[in-house]
Symmetry: C2
Subunit: 185 residues, 2 copies
DNA sequence: GATCGTCTGTACCGATCGGTACAAACAGCA
DNA sequence: TGCTGTTTGTACCGATCGGTACAGACGATC
């Protein structure tokens, strides 16, 4: 007993940041060790599966955060339009107004569908479905709700790519503004 | 003299494909050698700068292709709407209807702005400006042309991310359809 | 056929990769 | 204070990384 209650969870944000900055391949254990302040011993004690398990844990944590803060309100909030507005503001905050990339999107583009494909797909599928449901509840016809939801998720991802590529975070904010107009007219 | 006229250019598509599949870090020289059929000797003869020069050459080739097939028509075609439709069909073909990712976008997300930042930024900047000009020539007000152009580039990138993440290329086709409606109503 | 510069396969370099082994340090409990 | 199990730093492993050196094969020119 007396397990390590925090150790793992405490290290996750730092590990996530390393993956974000260097990608899965580029994130070396030396780098992760330095940024978490943990030696290899501690790292492998907390994540016996090594780098792959760290990545899985990070993806799970991200998924859980979005489920809690974004997807659940989209599905359950009695006021779907408020939930959509909340989604936009939480998204803006999470991605630091375009200064931070989406790790899940980056993994989708670069990782050769290792063990991560399920988690990556699930993250976007859940988001799309929750948003489509909110739009439906807000009175949109089903077909329109679904294509609008897909367009939204994809615009957010594209906005992050473009903001990063142009080194201009403002791209992300402009995109969110246009989205708000289309979503909650 | 009697330079190597083809060697370099011949190898570029194969090298690009390796970068696309494995990312910059993940693309090892062993892998590149195997896929091009070239030994290290030949590889370093054609690209004295090593992996970095290969990546630069690949990015340059991609940029030149888009300049020729997409940006120039957007700027110069007397019929801007036809140029926009051409852009959509060339884009669909280039990205194999969502089965192929954008190397420039992938580099933007993962590479730590090495020497590639200029090329990456230029690719998207040129695209956005050429499209905005075509929309302007097609009769749109300037502000609308610019935000629509930005939305379009970003949607294409996001469409590639989402298609890959969901392992469903059809996402890309649906997005292009919606874009066509918004661009050439 | 001899010559000369261009190509290319192979061996090799030090550095670093992800991962393992293990002993010392440390806690909690008596 | 002794014991017990967890947590840690360190040394080490084989493999592979990007890159270099170089000798021999090649192809053109006379």
């Amino acid at each position: 007993m007396a397990k390590k209650p925090g150790a793992r969870e405490d290290a996750l944000p730092a590990i996530a940041e390393v993956f974000r900055e260097y990608g899965y391949e580029g994130a070396s254990l030396a780098l992760i060790g330095a940024r978490t302040g943990l030696g290899k011993g501690s790292l492998y004690h907390a994540f016996p599966g090594g780098k792959a398990e760290m990545a899985e844990a990070v993806l799970d944590a991200i998924g859980a955060w979005f489920e809690d803060k974004v997807y659940a309100p989209l599905r359950d909030d009695p006021d779907p339009r408020a939930a959509i507005r909340l989604m936009l503001s939480e998204t803006d905050a999470y991605f630091r107004s375009g200064r931070r990339i989406c790790l899940v999107g980056a993994f989708a583009l670069t990782e050769g569908r290792d063990g991560f494909a399920d988690r990556i797909g699930g993250y976007f599928r859940d988001w799309r479905e929750a948003l489509a449901q909110a739009l439906l509840r807000a009175g949109r016809p089903e077909a329109e709700a679904e294509s609008l939801a897909e367009d939204t998720i994809l615009a957010i991802q594209g906005g992050l790519v473009l903001a990063r590529a142009l080194d201009d975070p403002a791209v992300f904010g402009r995109m969110l503004g246009r989205l708000e107009e289309r979503l909650v007219s």
